[in-house]
Amino acid sequence: MSENDLGFTPSEMMTIAASRALKNDDVCFVGIGAPSAACNVARLTHAPDITLIYESGTIGTAPDVLPLSIGDGELCETAVTTVAVPEMFRYWLQGGRITIGFLGAAQLDKFGNINTTIIGDYAHPKTRLPGGGGAPEIATSSREVYITMAQSKRGMVEKIDFFTSFGHGEGGDHRKRLGIDTAGPTLLITDLAVWKPDPVTKEFTVVSLHPGVTREKVQATCGWEAIFAEALDETPAPTELELKTLRDLQARTKTAHASAAKGKAAQ
């Protein structure tokens, strides 16, 4: 994605907006597919003490570069402690210690339900996607869930093909009716806007447009009829520090991950 005339890309705006939603005392479970970039930008800017947990067992990790997989060595090397995977899911996630579960999505509906399992029918899928990994329980055991994804009609759909992880179901008190006592998706950050669920219906509502983004553009890239808050904000543009932090992080990451390939080429 190219820079707009404001000096940053929509993707950068998305990552930075997501990073701002994280607080210094958050304990954040970074699920597969989620932009750990946002979590690490938060850590490198306003939330130096944020606890980042990857499901590989690394607790309180502080990588200098973004991991390519959720089990990269640097996550372990910089963690406060690294535990076994069953302990991760039992004591740390199910134990109710995670304040924010951070999920990405292949398909998302307006109630924050996510599909990363299949396109088509489960028994005879058109496309077999990777599946849920930690997401089904991240979605129900984290106190809140943040979702981040780039907008597209293919991704933000009226009806998802499979409930990989449960958001607000059919809306309203559906979570409560299933015995789920956590808040569920409370924030959706896309490359174009910030969305929050309506307090009653739980339908995602645009509360802030990123700089230069119009309502029409949001609607054109969303498969359901978007609702906009009456008091619609404009997302503050990335600060110089935020942009520099993100870009430095990505540059370090690129260099680090290219080195193995280079080493190989040199053989």
Binding site: G57, S69, G73, C76
Partner: protein, 285 residues
Amino acid sequence: MVKFLPLKKAVAENLHDGDTVAFEGFTHLIPTAAAHEAIRQSIRELTLIRMTPDLIYDQMIGMGMAKKIVFSYLGNPGVGLLRRVRDAIENGFPRPIEVEEHSHAGMANAYEAGAAGLPCAVFRGYRGAGLATVNPNIKSVSCPFTGEVLAAVPAIRPDVTFIHAQKADRKGNVLVEGIIGIQKEAVLAAKRAVVTVEEVVDNFNDLHPNLTVLPNWTIAAISVVPGGSHPSYTHGYYDRDNSAYLEWDEIAADRDRFQAWMQKNVIESSADDFAARVEHLRKAA
């Protein structure tokens, strides 16, 4: 009691047609060399269990060795999809494959229950999740004190588990360190366990007492295979070969290219070839 064996013999003695087998490793310490040996020995009709099937199950399934796969995340970590597994699930190529899908929490708890000798695992999971409706092995029990309905899944009890680890001592005790994943549980849940290690050291006398050490009597066979987890990594020995994961995405996208790659890099290779593959990934001392 554990035996030190060449990998070829360790696989032949412990893995048989029709077995339920786990090759575990959570991104780190993936037992690639053992999987490649199983491919060379053309073991068939396997039920493959793994939380994160990645390249090695893509390869085994692409070679038609599996009748069933049990998993919780079917991706090429950091890259995308597993194209040979997709071909099997979507198109039945080279053969149809049965799928049993769980969440990570479900699999982790099921391995834990297997290690703990329990018939099933009980946890808070799958609420509102589609898997609970498509997987008959997801049931529920009620807490007899609070009435809360909890998920239950059967314990995982593989016939044999393969893992890769840093080192063994001469008595055959095994050390696993770094991102230890589900390996201890996978070994203890299995009837037999085979471990490939980077090296053998005289003893573990200087180890911290709380590290993850598998006593020798919990292991059937150990094979020394330096580099045996490539293109995954071994904490303390060599880094992850990220470029190999990217490259795999292209290799696996094409049936013929896949076959040619397998012929050259697996069928016509051996466990001894792994050491050279990680040479450029070792940290400068």
